[in-house]
């Protein structure tokens, strides 16, 4: 459904040029739900805006839904649906009128029937709901309206830009259900961006991790997690008197020769270890630290998450990079 080669975009502003996306190659197959995961400012939205014809790439080429992005943007537009990050409804216009306009813009054959069908599927058929302007809707309802607008013309490929950002947990889970059903029932291919690991994990068949404008890893959530071999042990250090960084470095030295430790990273007063067979090696780790005179505040062990994958691939935590960019 999508074949992109070397897609890049540079923004030239007053403060010099910014390479938002630096050569992205990606392929998305029919009927897949693919998640584009990365921190804010990694280039997710820019890539999405290029693939949806909103932004001309400065380099590279792509075929989207069987049409060439550069030579046939109109053809791409007819075959894709796009739901922007902040939605795209006029807060004062009744939802039903927005859907009607959208249906007419795409030349949908029987707009009234299509709107009824969409409203039923996306649970927008509540009493008088479509007569309400989006300003008078709940966050979840507004988001479902945005999705409905993107689906009016039954596109085989839908782009969702951070579909669940700002939704409460219940509405999120709800929207995930709808997105899964899109694929299962209609065979729609879904390409979405997210900076939530649990979302990528729960929803996506395949995840592309993007960082600083480049794709740094790709695979199914399970595959990616397997790449982070072993379990993650986080050792929180208690620095009685001594600065934590020193304690952390001492701890790392103490564990350097340990056979189960594959990798050790110092993270603000804590030591993050990637460990083979964590259940068994935990005791000997503690002993080694104890012998080196390192005081522990807490000890945690976890199976790897996509956050760990991100950390392994980029050397930074997804949460940290997200807050740094914000």
């Amino acid at each position: 459904m999508i074949e992109a080669r070397g897609l890049a975009r540079t923004f030239t502003g007053r403060r010099g040029t910014v390479e938002a996306v630096r050569g992205v190659d990606l392929s998305v197959a029919l009927g897949e739900i693919v998640g584009f995961l990365g921190p804010n400012g990694a280039g997710k939205s820019t890539t999405l805006r290029m693939l949806t014809t909103l932004l001309a790439p400065t380099a590279g080429s792509a075929t989207v839904a069987g049409r060439d992005l550069r030579t046939d943007p109109g053809g791409v537009r007819r075959r894709i649906g796009y739901v922007a990050q902040g939605g795209g409804t006029d807060p004062s216009v009744p939802a039903g009128e927005e859907l009607e306009l959208q249906a007419r813009l795409y030349g949908v054959a029987d707009p009234a029937a299509r709107i009824r069908e969409l409203a039923r599927r996306l649970e927008l058929d509540g009493e008088g709901l479509l007569a309400r302007p989006s300003a008078a809707m709940s966050g979840g309802q507004r988001r479902r309206l945005d999705v409905a607008l993107g689906l009016v013309h039954r596109p085989p490929l839908v782009f969702l830009d951070e579909p669940t950002t700002g939704l409460d947990p219940q509405s999120r889970g709800h929207l995930w259900e709808h997105i899964r059903r899109l694929r299962d029932r209609d065979g729609t291919t879904v390409f979405l961006t997210t900076h939530y690991l649990d979302e990528a994990d729960a929803l996506c068949d395949r995840v592309l991790i993007i960082d600083r404008g480049r794709i740094v890893a790709e695979g199914s959530p399970a595959e990616l997690k397997r790449r982070v071999a072993g379990d993650v042990v986080t050792v929180e250090l208690a620095g009685s008197g001594a600065p934590l960084e020193q304690v952390a470095l001492r701890a790392r030295t103490a564990l350097a020769g340990h056979s189960a430790v594959r990798e050790a990273t110092v993270l603000e007063g804590a030591l993050r270890l990637t460990v083979d067979d964590g259940d068994r090696s935990l005791m000997s780790l503690i002993r080694a630290l104890d012998e080196a005179g390192v005081e522990l505040a807490a000890l945690r062990m976890a199976r790897p998450t996509l956050d760990d994958v991100f950390l392994t691939v980029t050397g930074r935590s997804l949460r940290d990079s997200a807050s740094a960019a914000a």
Binding site: G74, A84, D90, Q102, L105
Partner: protein, 235 residues
């Protein structure tokens, strides 16, 4: 078109000029003779152009709201032609302005405007085409500035000199040489003069021809610029 209140409020300012300023002009107007005996014939076209300048000039604010809510982006992903994206808005604005202009003309007639019907219709066509150009340009400026805080001061900086130099209130024929020369560089002057000629029923005058030529160029240029901007629009 959603707000009928907007149509009425947009009319207040030109209507106030008409009622509270127009009568003054008819006292001094005889001296200048610009209206060919009926000063309303000179004054009303000016007020109509002012209506177009300010009424259509402000439409960009609506686009900024739509840019922010994501409506513009949603429309740009649809296969609709970029020209249609612009014209849909611009024609709606123009229609609204023509309705206002007709109401204003009716008020003018009540106050004493007498002009040949064809002249009035021709004048309206000029005003409609002018509004169409100004609305397109307003959208271009709105897309360039993107925020109200920057758009509003830019708009007033552009519209006020254009209004004064076009001789909307008093004909530029009264101006001293240098002012007259400067005003020749602003397109609206020719449109005002042409509308005045039309109201006098003076269809073969050079003012009429110049005005028509300037208007056509203005429409083509502003719509081309607007469409280009809708195509390129990004960030």
């Amino acid at each position: 078109m959603r707000s009928k209140v907007g149509v009425v409020f947009g009319l207040t300012q030109p209507l106030l000029y008409l009622v509270l300023f127009g009568p003054l002009l008819s006292r001094v107007g005889g001296v200048q003779g610009a209206g060919g005996g009926n000063t309303w014939r000179a004054f009303v076209p000016g007020i109509l152009v002012q209506l177009a300048l300010f009424g259509a000039g402000f439409v960009g604010f609506g686009l900024i709201a739509d840019l922010r809510s994501g409506v513009v982006e949603r429309l740009r992903v649809t296969p609709v032609s970029r020209l249609a994206l612009l014209l849909g808005r611009v024609l709606c604005d123009t229609l609204m302005l023509v309705v206002q202009a007709v109401l204003l003309l009716a008020a003018g007639v009540l106050l004493g405007l007498r002009a040949p019907l064809w002249g009035i219709v021709a004048g309206l066509v000029f005003v409609a085409l002018l509004a169409l150009s100004i609305a397109s340009l307003s959208y271009v400026l709105a897309m360039m500035t993107r925020v109200e805080d920057a758009f509003a001061p830019l708009l007033s900086t552009v519209t006020l000199p254009l209004m004064l130099l076009s001789g909307i209130i008093l004909p530029m024929s009264m101006a001293p040489g240098w002012l007259d020369a400067v005003s020749r560089f602003t397109p609206f002057r020719y449109v005002v003069d042409a509308a005045r000629a039309a109201f006098r029923g003076d269809f073969s005058s050079s003012a009429m021809l110049e005005g028509a030529a300037v208007t056509v160029v203005l429409v083509v240029a502003s719509v081309a610029l607007g469409t280009h901007r809708f195509r390129k629009e990004n960030t």
